[in-house]
Amino acid sequence: MLVPLYGFLEGDTLGLLVLAHDTMNMGKAAELLVQAAKPRVTQTSEIRIVVNGLEINPSLTVAQAGLTALARFDVRRN
């Protein structure tokens, strides 16, 4: 199932919509966000993913991370 999420990349100036699949792992969702923010933020692979203030394992799927449609996730740069 397609799950639209609001992604916020540290260093960026706005929030972006990331169209993820509930079986997609969060690392991939974060990668999509980093790619979408490319015009404003230098690409990096050194990242942490934060949901509801807690860092999560990037191998968790969107569903396992408890994210439902239009939820927020953050990508912090190391």
Partner: protein
């Protein structure tokens, strides 16, 4: 027949306050609470309503006639196409932004004033609002008339009229504000929100601050136009204070709520409208002060003094507002630059001189924006001039469900967007104040879909170019580009590798 001999002044005092007691109908039927607004008070509670600058219809007409004549002369002398063509290209694009935002909003204000001219609770208030309606009609027509001649030269000026009829995200946000503020509000909310907060608190920024920059930039027509409008605004803005004083007397909590709500809602729109032009679209050598300095002078000092003198408190989110003064319009500008095809005016990249100026003016925040502009510079260095989509976003951006502006509050390190689940729907807001406004009146706001929800509902296309063309009424000629085509002398453009060219 004594009145025939009365002096102008004594005649005015009789004519401006025409009220009487109703014998055959109930006052509540003449002034229904649903239309007049709250608090509903007996007519006597409004009898002390008084505006400091009083005018009769005849002196109003004489003054307006003079202003019109003077503006027409200025337009004739300084409004020729070659006068516009001699202006800096960045400034011209600030002009497009203002020209589009003004006329139809002013026309909506005509309607708001007309509602007050009928349902305002005191005769003098109604008389002042009737003249206010005429003012706003004039303000709608002036920019339409002046910008019309530019349409053949530059199609983006067509948005002076077209803007509010489109689904460009800025138009959605502007309609979201002005529909409620000017068309929907009852006369009490209108007087507090439009006349007091918007016109007393914010339009000085626009009509005085920006007019002085226009003069510096050589745009005498814009300067004269805004100054002419401002003289009307200053007169009808005075409707707000006596209405607010009465509301404070009878329902201080509601008065505080109106101030808190409308200050924030006005702020987010003005930050874009005026902040873009003052800090980015005015040539750096012509800038008199930063947007923040103008806000400090025209909004903070004067507005805070006014509300504190009335016994009201600063809005509860004051610290958030002060932080946004350092960040918000910079966040939106950088975002808009990298999504410039989604608007009807062109934007520019600040070069080394401008970046230095911005760093000096915004010592608390500018460090956070340097990497963003360095990144944009770097990308232009790898792109040919004019290849706008080489330095442009393509994904869908998020919009606040309250103000309908892109999710740009907070800082690049920490965006303050927050979500709320309400009656089985999820909403996102750019900031706590926007969320708070929604939560106070969810039924008023919950049904309005932002652009993301329209895309997800299949009402608007998800592909950016398709969205712009078929949904936002933009096309290649009209959508925003880099105003200098990415040709900046300070860019260190990378020489092309001939082997790649061959391959």
């Amino acid at each position: 027949m004594e009145s025939q001999h009365a002096s102008g002044e004594s005649w005015l005092s009789l004519a401006r306050k025409l009220d009487w007691d109703f014998s055959y109908v109930d006052e509540r039927d003449v002034f229904p609470a649903e239309i007049c607004g709250k608090p509903w008070l007996d007519g006597n509670a409004w009898r002390s309503w008084d505006e400091p600058y009083k005018t009769s219809y005849s002196s109003y007409v004489a003054t307006q006639h003079e202003k019109e004549q003077s503006l027409k002369t200025v337009d004739h002398v300084l409004g020729r196409l070659r006068d516009f063509q001699s202006l800096d290209v960045a400034w011209l694009n600030g002009l497009k932004l203002h020209a589009a935002a003004l006329p139809l909003a002013e026309f909506a204000a005509t309607i708001g004033n007309l509602r007050a001219a009928r349902f305002g609770r005191d005769g003098a208030w109604r008389a002042a609002a009737a003249l206010g309606a005429l003012d706003e009609c004039r303000h709608a027509q002036i920019p339409l008339r002046m910008m019309h001649k530019l349409v053949r030269w530059d199609r983006q000026f067509d948005w002076t009229h077209k803007f509010y009829h489109t689904n460009c995200w800025v138009a959605i946000a502007a309609r979201r504000l002005f529909d409620e503020l000017l068309l929907f509000s009852d006369p009490i909310e209108f007087a507090v929100a439009t006349n007091f907060v918007f016109e007393t608190g914010f339009t000085n920024l626009q009509f005085i601050g920006l007019a002085s920059i226009a003069e510096e930039s050589g745009d005498r027509l814009f300067e004269q136009m805004t100054m002419s409008i401002q003289t009307d605004e200053a007169r009808h803005a005075q409707i707000g204070l006596p209405v607010l004083e009465t509301v404070i007397k009878h329902d201080p909590e509601y008065a505080q709520y109106l101030i808190d709500k409308w200050f924030w809602r006005s702020w987010v729109v003005f930050a874009i409208l005026t902040g873009f032009t003052m800090d980015y679209l005015t040539p750096v050598e012509k800038r008199k002060a930063s947007f923040k300095e103008f806000v400090q002078e025209w909004v903070l000092d004067q507005f805070l003094t006014s509300i504190e003198n009335l016994g009201l408190k600063k809005p509860w989110y004051w610290d958030t507002f002060l932080q946004s003064l350092d960040y918000y319009h910079h966040m939106v500008y950088a975002s808009a630059y990298t999504y410039r095809a989604t608007v009807w005016f062109d934007l520019v990249v600040p070069g080394p001189g401008e970046l230095h100026w911005l760093a000096e003016k915004y010592p608390n925040s500018w460090k956070s924006f340097e990497p963003v502009w360095n990144r944009i510079h770097e990308q232009w260095e790898h792109c040919d001039p004019g290849v706008d989509f080489g330095v442009h976003g393509t994904s869908i951006v998020g919009f606040c469900n309250m103000c309908q502006i892109v999710l740009c509050q907070g800082t690049p390190e920490h965006n303050t967007a927050c979500t709320l689940d309400h009656k089985g729907q999820r909403y996102i807001f750019c900031s706590e104040p926007c969320k708070w406004i929604f939560e106070r009146e969810p039924d008023r706001y919950a049904g309005h879909k932002d652009l993301v929800k329209r895309v997800l509902a299949g009402e608007a296309p998800a592909n950016l170019v398709q969205l712009l063309r078929t949904y936002c009424s933009l096309d290649f000629d009209s959508w925003g580009k880099d105003a200098r085509k990415g040709e900046y002398p300070w860019l260190r453009r990378q020489p092309k590798d001939p082997r790649k060219e061959e391959g």
